[in-house]
């Protein structure tokens, strides 16, 4: 098994997709010859030539181009450099791609995958810091996934590409150059969907996704030293969302904390809370707690960011808070 960091796992998945699906084409800004601003697409142009190309700074044309090509037999994988830049061309994914299959009664499909990345990094400005997964998860017809590990960066991207519907895979900049891990690269491509229990536990269920998984695991280990057993679930996919895995866990623990980097109000954590209220209300022994960025714009100065973006401490506090509620 090769040892890959997150971004090289993305790169390996792109190589495999272009290799395995002859109908795949791949494009984006600074994508082909420069190999991507984060090196995710390095080497693809050399290997696959005209199937991989650079585009103008034209997000609507990138996304619309992917849709049109998908309608006519291609399987495009495109990059929107930052999720914040997606906003200039949301029409193409929301009004266009998401409608294709439904309105044509299944006659047509738009099997395209959009890779993008998001999140706060020290110093990133308000227009380069947002976590917008809930925007996409709110749109029926889209597949939405947020890989948190190198293995998932590889597996989930391939699952998305292989799926015959439009998919948005949201990576996180802070993960790209993280620790290398052995990544199994030749396995079968799984269907989209499915959460993973990353750590089993019996006292509190902690649901998270994307880069927040790291802080969640750390918080769980802090709490285990305090005698609290936390079950950590990495949701991986928000659409389709694996409600069953979370429900089963909450039926065991009776307590639920949801942590994400997006703003709290209208964040996907609200959807998770609502689903568990539906499915497992009588199992709950304490109110559901959500951890996220307070409803604010993101300031650029690292000290200001640290004051608003939750991490291990905030998650740990939420876990303690929910554990302290008497059953």
């Amino acid at each position: 098994m090769p040892e890959l960091n997150y971004v090289s796992a993305v790169n390996a998945a792109l190589h495999r997709a272009l290799e395995e699906f002859p109908e795949t084409i791949a494009f984006g800004e600074d994508f082909a010859i420069p190999g991507g601003v984060f090196t995710a697409s390095r080497g693809l142009h050399d290997r696959f030539g005209a199937r991989v190309f650079d585009t103008p700074i034209s997000e609507a044309a990138i996304l619309g181009g992917a849709i049109g090509a998908a309608l006519r037999g291609r399987r495009p994988v495109v990059e929107i450099m930052w999720v914040d830049f997606f906003l200039v061309a949301l029409d193409q994914i929301v009004n266009q791609a998401a409608n294709v299959r439904y309105v044509s009664q299944g006659e047509l499909s738009a099997p395209l995958t959009v890779r993008t990345q998001q999140g706060v990094l020290p110093g990133s400005c308000a227009q380069h810091s947002q976590s917008l997964e809930a925007v996409f998860a709110h749109v029926p017809g889209l597949i939405v996934g947020l890989p948190a590990t190198p293995q998932d960066a590889y597996d989930m991207l391939l699952s998305a590409i292989a799926a015959d519907d439009p998919a948005v895979v949201i990576e996180h900049r802070s993960l790209y150059f993280g620790r290398r891990a052995p990544v199994s690269v030749d396995g079968p491509i799984a269907a989209v969907g499915g959460a993973r229990v990353r750590v089993e536990g019996s006292d509190v269920t902690l649901v998270t996704w994307g880069a927040m998984l790291g802080a969640a695991l750390e918080a769980a280990s802090v709490l285990s030293q305090e005698g609290l057993s936390v079950e950590v679930i990495d949701a991986r996919w928000l659409a389709p969302f694996d409600t069953a895995t979370v429900t089963e866990s909450v039926e065991k623990t009776g307590r639920l904390v949801i942590a994400h980097e997006a703003n709290v109000s209208g964040g996907f954590g609200a959807e998770v809370a609502a689903r568990i209220a539906n499915e497992a209300l009588w199992s709950l022994e304490a109110p559901i707690v959500r951890v996220g960025v307070p409803d604010l714009r993101i300031p650029a100065a690292p000290a200001l960011q640290a004051a608003v973006v939750p991490g291990v401490d905030q998650i740990a506090a939420a876990l303690r808070e929910t554990a302290a509620v008497a059953a």
């Binding site: 010859i33 700074i57 020290p122 227009q127 380069h128 100065a301 000290a303």
Partner: protein
């Protein structure tokens, strides 16, 4: 011949010596920022305008205090050309309480409207329609103000810029659209992303005047903007100015610039605005000693501002939740 100032003026006017001093201030500021970034004092992505200083300085020399300027993330030079104090700009990038936005904006997204600088923008092309809106407001308030928006040539391929050009053209809005053509959209040569890389010609499609100027010459820049501003104030609508320039550094600090041609940057250094302006001033009879003295005074001004900003209090976390709503 104009006398050599002892200090750079806050905002340069028509005289080349003043423009030279204003460009120098920007250059020294950017150089210091680069050091601060490498030292880890400034954190996050930074886009320097080294090599492109003549554009903001020349453009601002043709504008007035009542006008509104909208730039991009490569906007430190625009802010300084508009007279934003050096120390407050250092503070913003360092994330201090004394920064123009108290650290909320950072290098790529600060604003200082009291100087007519309506801010940077980190979304390519987003400033153009907003500038059209500023010109729209001027139609109702008799201010006679014009709006200037500057963006890279890569932004000409963004839908918002097209919409802004047509919007301004259709309604005769007083907008000056300035393309800072440094020939690269980040890491990609823009000539490969368009059929015709003479972008000024696109003006014809909007039935507005379009010109290409030497963006390394603050005088040429001033003249082009002065003409555009006169038309705009007369209610004759927008102008598209394509200012040709070269950035002498990477797209962002840390960019390895593998995409640049052999010898390209070295050649650009021979024709960059400071070199050209200094030579012109010498040819004009200004003494080298006077120019050296001016350079030293600008360096001292920038150093003092940097020192003050480095000593300032960090951004105030207790107020971080304020100002989301009125």
């Amino acid at each position: 011949m104009t006398p050599v100032p002892i200090q750079a003026p806050a905002v340069a006017g028509e005289a080349l010596i003043d423009q030279f001093a204003a460009m120098l201030r920007i250059r020294r500021f950017e150089e210091r920022i680069e050091k601060m970034r490498h030292a880890g004092e400034v954190i996050g992505s930074v886009h320097l305008c080294i090599g492109q200083e003549a554009i903001p300085v020349g453009a601002r020399a043709a504008l007035e205090q009542r006008d509104a300027v909208f730039s991009t993330y490569r906007g430190h030079g625009w802010a300084l050309a508009c007279g934003v104090p050096v120390e407050a700009l250092f503070g913003e990038l360092l994330g201090t309480r004394t920064g123009v936005n108290g650290g909320r904006g950072g290098s790529a997204y600060f604003t200082a409207a009291q100087y007519g600088f309506y801010g940077e923008n980190s979304i390519v092309g987003a400033g153009a329609p907003i500038a059209a809106g500023a010109a729209l407001a001027a139609r109702y308030d008799d201010s006679g103000a014009v709006a200037l928006t500057a963006f890279g040539e890569g932004a000409m391929n963004q839908g918002s810029v097209h919409e802004a050009l047509n919007f301004a053209a259709a309604f005769d809005l007083g907008v000056i659209f300035v393309i800072e053509n440094n020939r690269y959209s980040e890491l990609t040569p823009t000539k490969n992303m368009v059929r015709d890389d003479e972008l000024w010609k696109r003006a014809a499609a909007y039935a507005i005047p379009g010109v290409r100027v030497d963006g390394n010459d603050p005088g040429a820049m001033r003249d082009a903007v002065a003409e555009a501003a006169a038309r705009a104030r007369a209610g004759e609508g927008p102008t598209l100015i394509e200012a040709m320039t070269e950035r002498l550094v990477g797209h962002y600090i840390g960019d390895g610039e593998a995409y640049r041609e052999e010898g390209e940057v070295a050649a650009a250094r021979e024709r960059e605005p400071l070199v050209v302006a200094r030579a012109a001033l010498l040819a004009d009879g200004v003494s080298a000693e006077d120019l050296d003295a001016l350079e030293a005074s600008v360096q001292a001004e920038v150093d003092a501002a940097a020192d003050a900003a480095l000593a300032a209090e960090p951004a105030d976390t207790t107020t971080v939740r304020e100002h989301l709503h009125a």
